[in-house]
């Protein structure tokens, strides 16, 4: 009997390794943002939203090549408690065939598709494993629907065979209209670390603020997000302009990425340091907000941030059909400085910013403790939509000071006048002895001009 020789060594990947890798460096809030990105991408795919024209994004007037019905409202409902996490949307759903073949793979789908937010193919997996143990994903489209339900702990334990690298999948009925299509992800038996974070009262409010800060270009325009019933409201992305303030504008493309830079001053009075600095947006998602660090050039290509710059406001808008070409990290919460497109852009940002900082420096010539709010440039500035600014051609920052410095037309001169002479003059004029000396001199000057210096 010949001994059966096994000519292979096990190279099966460890499920726990992958899951640990992808869940470790992302926060719970940003995992939730990944799920919102997926819903937004679903909207974009289902209704053919054209993100190539940045100006449309800024104006909040989205163009659909295949628009939804008139009173359709795309909504993402997020419900968070210490027992359960649910995110439910009506944004078009996940195609069941795609779900079967590629959505659940640990890695991106092989087809690139439009300007999207879902980049690395791990957002969904990362979020569900981070959140909890009992997982249910249900999605319905006009092409049918599916349900995937499993226990994460048991799934992670089964990794002996290639066949274990699947999720249990069942088909369910689809829906008849796209407007009814959508996805619901429900997780119970939350993981202890996620549960502890969720139990802190500030978590929900932090999550609300993070969503508001990240999606100002989408909220209440393309989609609506409700967090535990409260509709998330965003501050609009505007910049200050006026008759005498022109923002700096720069457009260029590089490495398959379109870049638009705009810098000027804030229209918010009084300006607040916490809102000042550079904002970086990738495919409509705000990645970096109010940055005043070396990442965006402060203390490097331009001066280090100082309170006198609290009116500075700059936006860098990156867009690309290839989301992987954008300079964001895998968590989409930071910038990958290494990427050449960002290295190049930062230099452009420095040029643009220095124009504004030059003017701000002139306003506050000495670094003293004078309260800057007393001399706000933003007093004239009106909030202007970035979409309108994006229409302008490249231009530098211009600020026309409205305060006219008055030309001084008089001069003071002093001299020592002899007291006896003054006394004589007062007597001659018939003025009292205690008349102020300057009155005498003033009279004498006027007399001279009138009598001897007539040529005007």
């Amino acid at each position: 009997m010949t001994k059966k020789i096994d000519n292979s060594a096990n190279a099966l990947p460890s499920k726990r390794f992958f899951v640990n890798l992808i869940t470790r460096d992302i926060t719970l809030e940003h995992s939730v943002l990944d799920l919102i990105d997926n819903a937004i991408d679903s909207m974009i795919r289902t209704y053919g939203v054209d993100l190539k024209d940045n100006k449309a994004v800024f104006r909040g007037s989205y163009e659909y090549t295949d628009p939804p019905k008139a009173n359709f409202k795309a909504t993402i409902n997020i419900s968070v408690s210490s027992d359960e996490f649910t995110i439910s949307d009506n944004c078009g759903g996940i195609d069941p065939q795609l779900a079967k073949l590629s959505v659940f793979r640990f890695g991106p789908e092989s087809e690139r598709r439009g300007a999207t937010l879902g980049v690395y193919g791990i957002g969904l997996k990362r979020a569900i494993f981070k959140l909890g143990k009992t997982i249910s994903i249900e999605s319905v489209t006009t092409q049918g629907g599916f349900r995937v339900e499993f226990d994460a702990v048991k799934w992670l334990d089964r990794e002996k065979k290639v066949e274990d690298w699947v999720f249990p999948y069942e088909e369910i009925d689809g829906v008849s209209t796209r407007e009814e299509a959508g996805t619901t992800i429900r997780i119970v038996n939350l993981r202890p670390d996620s549960k502890m974070r969720i139990e802190a009262p500030t978590f929900i409010n932090d999550l609300y603020d993070t969503i508001a800060r990240t999606y100002p270009f989408f909220l209440n325009q393309l989609i609506q997000v409700k967090l535990n019933g409260a509709e998330v409201q965003s501050e609009p992305m505007v910049i200050g302009t006026s008759d005498n303030i022109e923002p700096a504008v720069r457009h260029f493309s590089r490495d398959n990425v379109d870049v638009f830079i705009a810098a000027a001053i804030t229209s918010v009075k009084p300006s607040k340091t916490k809102d000042a600095g550079w904002y970086i947006v990738c495919n409509g998602r705000v990645v970096i907000a109010a940055n005043k660090s070396e990442l965006t050039g402060w203390g490097r290509g331009i001066a280090a941030y100082h309170q006198k710059y609290s009116e500075f406001l700059g936006y860098v808008i990156f867009s690309s059909e290839d989301a992987e070409a954008l300079p964001w990290t895998t968590t989409k919460t930071d910038i990958n400085e290494e990427l050449p497109v960002y290295q190049y852009t930062r230099k452009e940002m420095d040029q643009v910013a220095s124009g504004v900082l030059r003017v701000l420096n002139k306003k506050y010539p000495t670094n003293t403790s004078v309260d800057p709010e007393g001399r706000q440039m933003s007093a004239d500035a009106q909030p202007t939509n970035l979409g309108d600014v994006a229409e302008k051609d490249d231009q530098p920052f211009k600020y026309q000071s409205l305060v006219q410095s008055r030309e001084k037309t008089t001069t003071t001169s002093t001299f020592e006048a002899d007291k006896n002479d003054l006394a004589r003059a007062k007597k001659h004029l018939g003025w009292p002895k205690n008349t102020a000396a300057y009155k005498v001199v003033q009279y004498a000057w006027q007399y001279f001009l009138q009598m001897e210096c007539q040529d005007k």
């Binding site: 967090l227 019933g229 409260a230």
Partner: protein, 319 residues
């Protein structure tokens, strides 16, 4: 003084409602010390000011010996020392925030953050930090003024719910529920909003700790002038929570075991000594009892019945 408005206090500086509250809290602590909670061994931290009423009561009536009074007004340092009733009281002339890091998990505390003015961001931070440090079995009380806030720059300007919401949004920061809107800040809802913020602060401090909760004990509302709110409870793990459930609080109506029941109102009607003696002799009386001897509303009698055991008497002594 309009006697029909029984809640006008006779003398604000004597603050009868506050004294009733103190005595109710003391009674509760006495009950707890009789049932497996060694209250007399707790360290008391409070804001004694120059009167030290709570210190006197806790030391004399409950036997607490570890007493710390915190005063952040350095300009009255000598005055607070002068009025210190017992040498055993440690005086700390500093902001309460300086005391928090010294709270040890190896000791049990009774801490009364009697802020006596409107909720500020720094108060909320102190509540978070204190909750984080307190060991199980410790008792935390917070008293705040819940009168609607006035505008900072113009104290005379009439303000409304929108302004009040702005105030609490600014002070509440991350604890301010993003789902709130102006309609949640009507005057009648300010009790709930103040409670929500304080409760959120306590939970924020407790949440990183495993299996530790706040078991409710006090949720009291009164007005000696300004409307005030006291929120209190015991920091508990599973075993303290069980011990607490076993305690019979039935004859203490001011105890709150579930904050959703709402606050317990203390109302102290204005009565003369002669009137009080008569009423006391009828206590506890029927719901609709009114004396024949003088005019007084049935609801005032009922209010008196709630507090008669704790009613302060004020006497003038010629010394």
């Amino acid at each position: 003084m309009n006697l029909a408005e029984s809640y006008v206090s006779v003398n604000y500086s004597l603050r009868p409602c506050k004294q009733v509250e103190r005595r109710m809290i003391l009674h509760t602590l006495q009950l707890l010390s009789e049932t497996m909670f060694p209250i007399s061994e707790y360290t008391y931290i409070g804001f004694g000011s120059i009167f030290f009423y709570d210190f006197i009561m806790l030391h004399k009536l409950l036997g607490l010996n570890n007493l710390v009074s915190v005063e952040n007004d350095t300009s009255i340092e000598k005055r607070v020392h002068y009025n210190r009733p017992f040498a055993g009281i440690d005086m700390v002339i500093d902001d309460y925030s300086a005391v928090i890091p010294n709270i040890s998990r190896d000791k049990k505390y009774l801490i009364w953050l009697d802020y006596d003015n409107r909720l500020l961001a720094e108060h909320l931070q102190q509540i978070i930090d204190t909750s984080f440090h307190l060991s199980v079995g410790s008792i935390l009380l917070i008293t705040i003024d819940i009168e609607p806030p006035k505008k900072q720059d113009d104290q005379t300007k009439v303000t409304g719910p929108a302004d009040w919401m702005e105030y609490y949004k600014e002070q509440g920061g991350k604890l301010f529920n993003r789902g709130w809107s102006v309609k949640d800040f009507n005057q009648s809802k300010l009790i709930d909003r103040n409670f929500d913020l304080v409760y959120a602060a306590i939970n924020e401090g407790l949440s990183p700790r495993d299996e530790v909760d706040l078991s409710p004990l006090f949720y009291i509302h009164y007005a000696d002038g300004h409307r005030m709110l006291t929120i209190g409870g015991m920091v508990t793990g599973n075993s303290e929570a069980r011990k607490l459930t076993a305690v019979d609080f039935s004859h203490l109506p001011h105890i709150c075991r579930d904050y959703r029941d709402g606050p317990y109102p203390i109302r102290v009607p204005v009565l003369t000594t002669k009137e009080r003696l008569l009423l006391d002799s009828k206590m506890p009386c029927a719901d609709d009892y009114v004396p024949d001897e003088f005019e007084i509303r049935a609801e005032d009698i009922r209010a008196y019945r709630e507090v008669y055991r704790y009613f302060p008497s004020y006497a003038e002594i010629l010394i």
